[in-house]
């Protein structure tokens, strides 16, 4: 109960000492959002399984190197985002697989298909800022931290991505 109430910083300190109950609380707190972040970028549930699991492995195994300058969540999601982008790029190189959520998944409805396809057509870097902003609810300053970009770059990348999305959707409509 204490672990559930404690904030991440306290849990991280406990987990660093080998307290796996604290680590379990961190896992429970961040797992679903981490998985969804991986899914939103890769567009694949299988890739999200791998990326999110490995991100937690790296994070927990590397807690001693976590310097606390950013929040644990930011640090963890940065690992997830980088791993997801790497997975997308690797997949592209290996099989020319068109990344992106091309297939209906979860509880998406039929009307989502058009937008899903348009998102899948975006470059991974652009799709990442869109899904981080609108699907995962990160604000631009947080996205800047996750992607290690200036906030201005996030805003401009987001604007360009939305413009490209609108163009893609208009092409679909017309």
């Amino acid at each position: 109960v204490v672990a559930e109430r404690a904030d991440d910083a306290v849990l991280v300190d406990l987990a660093r000492t080998g307290d796996r109950d604290a680590a379990a609380a961190l896992f429970e707190r961040h797992w679903t959002r981490a998985w969804r972040t991986a899914f939103a970028i890769t567009g694949s549930e299988a890739a999200a399984d791998d990326v999110a699991q490995e991100a937690f492995e790296h994070a927990f195994a590397g807690l001693s190197s976590f310097n606390g300058r950013s929040a644990f969540g930011t640090w963890l999601y940065r690992i997830v985002v980088n791993a997801a982008l790497t997975a997308v790029r690797d997949e592209r190189r290996r099989t020319a697989f068109a990344p992106g959520p091309a297939e209906p998944a979860g509880s998406w409805v039929a009307s989502d298909a058009e937008l899903v396809a348009a998102l899948g057509a975006l470059a991974a870097d652009r799709r990442a800022v869109v899904v981080l902003r609108y699907w995962l609810g990160f604000v631009p300053t947080e996205i800047a931290e996750l992607l290690e970009l200036p906030v201005g770059t996030v805003h401009s990348r987001l604007a360009r991505a939305l413009a490209e999305l609108r163009l893609n959707l208009e092409g679909t409509d017309g």
Partner: protein, 231 residues
């Protein structure tokens, strides 16, 4: 198109969530990587280039030597390299192009407390007790021994610290009670195709992980309990 941002935000509520099995497995492995810092631990000194090159040369020569290989004898028992045990529920001959049913998704209990586990990222993983192979996992197959019996799938709890290895390992592990084995395929959720398999050895209920192997392209690795396993 003015509502594009609103449409995107609306979709957020319909994003899929990780499945309970995925969550349970991820927790089992991830939590086990949490370990207490060693007393007096210091960051290792950066290796000197000449020493690193010399070490690499020795490793290359050793690996190129046929007699070399961690767990070589045990890994010889992997499907395609010899007879592997097949669970009655599994079906299908070994060495065949994998289909969705080729790798079982089973949780069994085996009459063994001491096991030997070998892992090679190029081949897969094998777990045996004495002369009996209890289970195996490769990129295209997975099996558990018919001497083990199916049991209900339990939940995992954090156990002792696990060491992760992306290199070949060969360890002997001792559990305080009979071990349980879990084998399941790793599927590409988009295509439904198998591209690897998992082999997890645990004990107790809730289960504590003793040895685990994730055999999949680009990330094959093994985990083992550092307190209950020795190489």
């Amino acid at each position: 198109m003015a509502d594009l941002e609103e449409r995107l935000e609306t979709m957020a509520a319909r994003l899929p969530a990780p499945g309970p099995k995925t969550t349970r497995r991820a927790a089992a492995v991830a939590l086990a990587t949490v370990s207490a810092p060693r007393a007096g631990w210091r960051r290792p000194a950066r290796p000197r280039p000449i020493l690193a090159i010399a070490t690499l040369a020795v490793v290359v020569v050793l690996v190129a030597t046929p007699a070399f290989g961690v767990g070589g004898e045990l890994l010889d028992l992997l499907p395609g390299r010899g007879e592997a045990p097949r669970h009655p529920a599994e079906g299908g001959p070994p060495g065949v192009e994998p289909e969705k049913s080729e790798i079982p998704d089973v949780f069994v209990s085996c009459d063994a407390r001491e096991i030997r586990a070998a892992f090679d990222p190029a081949q897969g993983a094998v777990v045996a007790t004495g002369e009996t192979v209890l289970g195996s996992a490769t990129y295209a197959s997975g099996a558990v021994s018919e001497t083990c019996r199916r049991i209900p799938r339990g939940s995992f709890v954090p156990g002792e610290p696990l060491r992760v290895s992306y290199e070949p390992v060969d360890v002997v592990c001792t559990a305080p009670r009979d071990v349980d084995l879990e084998v399941h395929p790793i599927l590409n959720g988009d295509t439904g195709r198998i591209f690897g398999s998992n082999l997890i050895v645990s004990y107790g209920n809730p289960a504590r992980t003793l040895f685990a192997a994730v055999v999949k392209p680009g990330g094959a690795r093994a985990f083992y309990d550092t307190k209950r396993c020795s190489g």
